[in-house]
């Protein structure tokens, strides 16, 4: 089944930032509950935007979110010290967001991840920047899976983010990532594919229709998770429907449940 990572608890979002600055726990808890009700399978928590306050903000957010979250959390920070603190607070096995092949980040994250029981998002980014071809994405994914396997993280706990790029700057950016996802899944059938989707439509009008059709195509290629706003009803309905069409919904039960609750409509 497709896994939705709810992206809303991020201090770069204005309302979240002011709630965090004012220690308004009610706002945060309410947002988390709404994401869960909408079908989020994970809640991402990012406290990076108030520079100099990340550690205390992350601690406060987790203290308030954890007792109210039925689903596991995604600890979203580039700083292993903050991740270590956050990891120690976790009751359910968390997901770590993220490691990449950028040397500084890679060298900082590997010792942190070693020996930990967790899931991890692995970005296909390296010191040369964004990948430039399908083969480039696959090569980076291959390296990430092997490096993570070598420190004891099983393939099934790895979530590769192939880095979706805007089709407005190059019409081949859609097929580039679709082909890469197919190849990665062929090479590592157990690995997960996740990431943001809305980059695909950057620079174009009517972005939502692009995002919805793109997620469907990505799911067919093998994407089984995404970092999105679960309160976007249309994209959630698209995902649940596509999941059924791809054979991941026994007796169409989830689809029907979605229709009855009003979450899915034609």
């Amino acid at each position: 089944m497709f896994e939705v990572i709810g992206e809303r608890i991020n201090t770069s979002r204005k309302l979240v930032q002011s709630a965090v600055a004012n220690r308004d726990a009610g706002y945060i808890i309410d947002d988390v509950k709404r994401q869960q009700e909408a079908g989020a399978n994970y809640i991402d928590v990012n406290a990076g935007a108030r520079i100099g306050h990340e550690e205390e903000d992350m601690r406060w957010l987790l203290e308030n979110i954890q007792p109210n979250a039925a689903v596991p959390l995604v600890l979203d920070s580039p700083d292993p010290t903050i991740l270590e603190m956050a990891f120690q607070m976790m009751e359910k096995t968390p997901m770590i967001n993220s490691i990449s092949l950028e040397k500084e980040r890679f060298d900082a994250m590997m010792p942190f991840l070693k020996g930990k029981e967790c899931r991890v998002i692995a970005l296909c980014m390296d010191d040369t920047g964004m990948p430039v071809s399908s083969d480039d994405i696959v090569g980076r994914a291959d390296k990430l899976v092997k490096e993570l396997n070598a420190i004891g993280i099983p393939t099934g706990s790895i979530y590769i983010d192939p880095l979706v790029q805007p089709i407005s700057i190059d019409s081949s950016k859609g097929t580039m990532v679709l082909d890469a996802v197919r190849a990665i899944k062929k090479k590592f059938p157990g690995v997960h594919i996740t990431g943001g989707l809305s980059n695909i439509s950057y620079g174009l009008p009517q972005r939502q229709i692009i995002n919805r059709i793109f997620v469907t195509m990505m799911m067919d290629a093998g994407m089984d998770s995404a970092i999105i706003d679960p309160l976007d009803r249309k994209i959630m309905a698209t995902i649940r429907t596509a999941d059924m069409l791809l054979g991941h919904d026994q007796f169409c039960m989830n689809f029907l449940k979605g229709v009855r609750s009003g979450a899915i409509a034609s």
Binding site: I51, P78, E102, T128, G129, I169, S171, Y202, G203, L204
Partner: protein, 216 residues
Amino acid sequence: MSKFLNIQNHLIAGEINELILDVKEALSKGVNADEILNTGLIGTMDIVGEKMQSGEMFIPEVLMAAHGMKAAVEILKPKLSCDKIGSAGKLVIGTVKGDLHDIGKNLVMLMMESAGFQVIDLGVDVPAETFLKAVEENDADILALSALLTTTMPMMQKTVELVKEKGLNKKAKIIVGGAPVSQGFADKIGADGFAPDAGAASKLARSLVAAEQTGC
């Protein structure tokens, strides 16, 4: 501008074959190549920039127009009075250290070239010292800094500080941009300008060097 109406329309529509015919026709009628470049092509790219800013035109259309512009300039090149390409000024551009994003930077670059700037691209993950060296060596008129991450915005500040410390900002105006960057941030770190998108950036750069325009 009216005598360049066809050039304008075809450049905006991204109809490159027609644009080339327009440029050849203007030349055969005896229209000065410099005028075709400055009024016809660069003038139209200003309109493209404005239409991008206002949301009437979208990135792929702007890219098409920039390609058209390049093709037209190739036709004009042998007939220009001097090396007019890049006569708007020299611009050093890059994404600051720690940041590997280049899409926005590349768009800005394209618009700057279309606006007549000679662009020196330092790429991504550029240390402050490298910016400094490039500004110095090229005697740049504009230094354009890009950042997409909140975590790399402080590097912008550091770069601006270093450029000022060396006194290079007297000639080179510093402009900043990128998703998390704002006018307020630009003011705070002492940059000379901020642009929210590529269309606005080329306009800003032109206005900053306008006072020192000398032609060729």
